[in-house]
Amino acid sequence: MSAGWLSRIDAVEPKVHAFLHVDRSATGSGAGALAGMTVAIKDLIHVEGMPTTAGSKILEGFMPPFSATVVERLRAAGAVLVGKTNLDEFGMGSSCENSAYGPTMNPYDLKRTPGGSSGGSAAAVAAGMCEAALGTDTGGSIRLPAAFCNLVGLRPTYGRVSRWGSVAFASSLDQIGPMARTVDVCERVFHVIAGPDDRDATSARVPPPARTDVGLKGLRIGLPREYFGEGLAPEVERAVRAAATWYEGQGAKLVEVSLPHTNAALATYYLLAPSEASSNLARYDGVRFGRRADGVKGLRDMYERTRSEGFGAEVKRRIMLGTFALSAGYYDAYYVKAQKVRTLVRRDFDAALSKADVLLTPVSPTPAFELGAVKSPMALYLMDVFTIPSALAGLPGLALPGGFTDAGLPIGLQLTGRPFAEGELFSVARSYERAHPWHERTPALESS
């Protein structure tokens, strides 16, 4: 498909708006593990020669002086880097509606969200404009859009993939990962980008994974009871339970497990991630890079006007929330308390993953919703209730296609594993995919 990627972009991009920048002269190399593979990069990751906006007005026109480690590795493997994809500003959102450059549409239903924050990456792959894409996942930003767009998307173990050259949102949570239509392509991209990097102090000194095949016979698949309760759409629940039954039929053993702090994890995340964001985003002050407000009167005025004009509503909301949680008098009651609950969330997963080898869950409570339909920030935060807990625990999570609703919307399945067990997740997903080729159902963009 590589040869036709540009004409495909010209044909469908006006309907989807997945890209913030397309490199029309992009080429790859004929050799390497990903020779000629077209890959789009979430616009939170630096590609030298292409602008980085992070979906924000505050970085409009910013040209990164270097490429991210993951980008260098993709280039060295021969990939064709076709462009930069749309996202919720700084990765803060679950619908791609928080981009300063307008929303992205879901290729399976253009009235609906592709999910977020890596919505542009998901839509680009789903619409056939590239074979794979990189996203970032802080609390679900790879897995949610993968689920909404019928894709395979991996949030790797914390530390598995270098973050050098990506724009920081919440540093104890951010991970870069691949998205693709099939398990095979997703895994191939993962193998290229994973592995230690001296330039990222949180990069784990663990050798890159090898492809493994895990037999399903005797495999213990955990179903956390808290993930199948109130608020879960019946069609989503049916798809996940059908997948569980299929695995059982292949010889796997279904185990009920409990993750008692699932709801507490959501509140914890929405204290911790904004706290880290408020610190990380302090760097956007109009001094060294990015936008500076015009006609400023002094330093303080420059900071305040630059940031107030440059940041969108959701980013301001999170900066405010984080600044509050870290402020004198509230630090212990909010930030430190949330860190303690994070410990309980980790212990939940330790216990569950001692009884089960992998966990099988929904990715989100509902399939893709209509753009503009979820109005309150809190309601949108609830979309992440099944992806946030494992992110807090630093565990790898894989979203994969699990079928469609009656209305034709994709439904995602989520596999969560032990630290550095991505190979197992890919293997367990591959078995399911062979028997359920949902990825072959591509969106009918031509007729819309």
Binding site: F66, A264, V287, L299, M302, K316, R317, K337, K340
Partner: protein
């Protein structure tokens, strides 16, 4: 806890954000919703629970102390809104 408008203004000042009165009012409501959700954490017994700041799943040893090519002044200043010689220009802070 109940967040007052004055507290919203104080947090905005700490955040180096200047908000319109509409934004202040909206943020008071939005932040309150998150703080109300956070109140559910008060029911947990956290007395002997250590905080998790970072999920260090493996050790992160320091890299070897080897000099590498720096970014260089030209590249470092390339995105500056007001480059002055080899420095970043800012508004005057001393009268």
């Amino acid at each position: 806890m109940k967040l007052s408008l004055d507290q919203v203004r104080r947090v905005a000042a700490l955040s180096r954000l200047s908000l319109t009165s509409d934004e202040e009012a909206r943020l008071a409501v939005d932040l309150q919703a998150v703080l109300d959700a956070a109140a559910s954490l008060d029911t947990l017994d956290l007395r002997d629970v250590p905080p998790t700041a970072q999920v260090n799943l493996t050790e992160s040893p320091l890299r070897r102390d080897v000099a590498v090519e720096p970014l260089g002044v030209k590249k470092a200043l390339a995105n500056a809104p007001d480059p002055v010689g080899s420095s970043f220009g800012v508004p005057k802070v001393i009268e």
